[in-house]
């Protein structure tokens, strides 16, 4: 009996280890951020883009209105791609688009808006990228759909027509 315990337990241990490694091999190792988590919007202080006035985040978002916060920059190429879609969304007037200008110079950003149009209801600056961190963003462009001070959905990377359709469905 004693002799049997040893090989038996060795097999069981190896079985467990094999199972764990086999299972973790099947899992994707690419990090996928949680885009559906309904989080409260962060509290931060920023400056208004054109006037340079100090603004508190609590004064930006009103209850019972849908907002799309878009983090953008003039040096970001994908931002150029998604810009016409933001212009179109703004024309439809269903959602208030708020811009966060990320690590940009005022002059370049203004040129960008003059060239492609300004879809934003308000724009705020984030010179050192810390406000983007407050939002849990990874870079530019990134968009957050906000309702009642909660983030409903997060879009990492440029928006495309499919995602815009999804936004239209969500805000109906």
């Amino acid at each position: 009996m004693k002799n049997k315990i040893l090989p038996f337990s060795v097999i069981i241990i190896f079985g467990i280890i094999f199972f764990i490694f086999y299972k973790s091999l099947q899992d994707s190792k690419i990090y996928i951020p949680d885009v559906n988590a309904k989080k409260e919007i962060p509290v931060f202080n920023t400056k208004e883009f054109f006037s340079g006035e100090n603004v508190k985040s609590s004064s930006i978002f009103e209850l019972d209105k849908v907002y799309l916060l878009n983090i953008w920059s003039s040096w970001c190429v994908p931002c150029r791609q998604e810009h016409p879609l933001l212009m179109k969304l703004n024309l439809e007037n269903k959602v208030n688009i708020i811009g966060i200008n990320y690590k940009d110079s005022l002059k370049n950003a203004e040129n960008f808006l003059n060239e492609l149009g300004n879809p934003y209801k308000e724009i705020f600056t984030d010179l050192d990228g810390t406000i983007a961190i407050e939002w849990g963003a990874y870079g530019v462009p990134e968009s957050f759909l906000i309702y009642n001070n909660k983030i409903i959905k997060k879009y990492i990377g440029p928006l495309n027509q499919e995602l815009v359709d999804e936004i239209n469905l969500l805000i109906k």
């Binding site: 004693k2 315990i5 040893l6 337990s9 060795v10 241990i13 280890i17 764990i20 990090y31 951020p33 949680d34 690590k103 050192d128 990228g129 810390t130 983007a132 961190i133 407050e134 849990g136 990874y138 870079g139």
Partner: protein, 120 residues
């Protein structure tokens, strides 16, 4: 008099540099344990990406606000999830990671004890 001046300058500068060095050490330690989420296998400390540079500024700000190391980790965990930490805490997703080595060690120890020491 000269000596006195020199002495005064040393006294004024010395404690400040210690404080600064401590802050830097703490900041380096924290940023080494934060994963740069947009880089491949780099910590925030090692990376020079826009994301990592902003994160370093946030760590500095939080240290100045007087947050402890654990509070800063907790802050980033709420923003980006457990994945941002290189040294994950014990929870329902990571308990196998923590307990498996101990379990293997105990079972292995028991086998060695039974087969070698008890036989004697």
């Amino acid at each position: 008099m000269k000596f006195f001046k020199f002495f005064l300058i040393v006294i004024i500068l010395f404690p400040l540099s210690i404080v600064n060095a401590e802050d830097n050490d703490k900041r380096n330690k924290i940023t080494k344990n934060l994963r740069c989420l947009i880089c491949q296998g780099q910590s925030v400390y090692d990376s020079d990406s826009e994301f990592a540079n902003s994160l370093k500024i946030v760590v500095d700000k939080k240290l100045k606000e007087g947050l402890t190391e654990d509070q800063i980790y907790e802050y980033f965990k709420t923003k980006y999830g457990e994945w941002i930490l290189y040294d994950p805490g014990l929870n329902k997703n990571t308990y196998i990671l923590w307990l498996l080595p101990i379990l293997i060690f105990l079972i292995g120890g028991a086998i060695i004890y039974k087969s070698f020491i008890v036989k004697k």
